[in-house]
Amino acid sequence: MVAEQTQVPEPSASSEPLLRVRDLTKIYESPGQRIVACEDVSFDVYPGEVLGIVGESGSGKSTVLQCLFQDVEATSGQAFLRSFEDGERSIFDADRRERRELRTHQMAMVYQNPRMGLNLMVTAGGNIAERLLAADWRRVDEIRDKASDYLSRTEVPVDRMDDFPAFFSGGMQQRVQIAKALANNPELVLLDELTTGLDVSVQAGVLDLVRDIQRIYGMTAVIVSHDLGVIRLLADRTLVMKDGHVVESGLTDQILEDPQHEYTQLLVNCVTN
């Protein structure tokens, strides 16, 4: 009953985008205040590719992810996911039940703060089980096999499966969060500043992990970071955001070596010089 396709999508220029985002806008409005978090953001993500979004804090890059995962409601704009209604209806028009399906089956989010993505009152294995249970897995042994599989993929010792992540280190919590995100083989994984809160030595391990998973399993992902090093390591293509707008987009090596926009030049030179 539970068949899992371990498909490594063969990236190809002719394939259709897996995600199309059009004119995504999020405005926070309260009496006397109007904050444009992001405005008219448009991009495509293709199967098997990692799209980077880089920018400083407040550039709106995390807002884009939050809107896509529907943690916050977009003010306007559309986002089409290939597997949702054949990409003909925006995921922003999904009803509550469809949204939940999107969040537990088609998409996954890895948050900067593991507390956002993990239930710390539930065991590490249980956190992964949650997504499997949502997909109607009903055998405990199979669920535990799968959970161990994901935990070992993310290099979490399997003998800690029945411990509570509240007692794990930050790096280990982040690994559990990634394991959880991979459960159910979501089509699209959203990664929000996944190494920002971690010690430098731990950051490296988490980045290597994501890179390996991407390489081995052909994960399609959008990764948001203020760190060009993270983007350089993981992203094929990159958007540069400033003040809620995309100021430049291109191949990641082009963004880093031949930035066109004044802001990007500043950003790149801050790092390399």
Binding site: R97, R100, V122, A129, E130, L133, R138
Partner: protein, 305 residues
Amino acid sequence: MASATTDRPSSSVRGLIAERGGDFSGYSFAFLDDMAKREIRRATLKAVAIPGHQVPFGSREMPIARGWGTGGLQLTLSLVGSEDRVKVIDQGDDASVNAVNLRRLVAQMTGAEETLDTAEATLIQTRHRIPEEVMRDDQILIFQVPIPEPLRFIERSVAVARGMHAEQDYSRMWLALYEDIVRRGEISAGAGYPVMVNSRFIMAPSPIPRWDIPKLNQADTLFLFGAGREKRIYAVPPHTDVRPLEFEDYAFKTEEFDGLACEVSGATDVYLVESPGENGTSRWTASDTNYADKVAAGIEVNKQW
């Protein structure tokens, strides 16, 4: 409960009875006024139409304390007619103080006949048991429910829980069962084991033992559930699928009483309860006292639910 005296104000059933010399002519038939009964019946019809779904209703102030069966009592009073034969059991026992009081109240407010015989009753109000004797399609079983929300233990917010029911978003419930198995090696819920009704709603069956859970499935009888404090009515209509939540490799199991038999009836295939015997020993008897009495008297009882 302390016994009331005649000079006490009419704050208890006994007080009422004594004050009026058993005359209830000033009261509506079945205590509740007509509009109240209608409102409860409307909620009941809706509950029957959506098996397992909790329907809010305007729970009334009753002459018993909340938590003592006001939900069940309001259901009973909204349905009972003077031709009915009413049975009330408390954990299977017709003779408990609360059961006796409720039964008398219903009878005296309506002229309905009191009975202890499961087969004879048209309406049975129950706390925490389903009779051993199989019930028919011309009978109704009314459950007293303390906590109607099966998701209460995993989600404190009523609004969120209702959203989860609406979307059939039960993965956290399943997760709680998974965690239970991880920690205890089994699903530890004893009384009130959660069930899936009509493949749609997870329902709290009220704190009946696991023993009774299979009886809910595809029964001939209408099951009604009333939670007075929480102001909810829900139902399992006849011939409805009711399945305990279980994993394929951790199947639901009922209680086992290996080697024990009821001391009254000698029956071994009944739900037994333990009470202190003489000299520190244990005494095991069927919790369904009417069943035990019938079997002891040599009456054949069909218990093939």
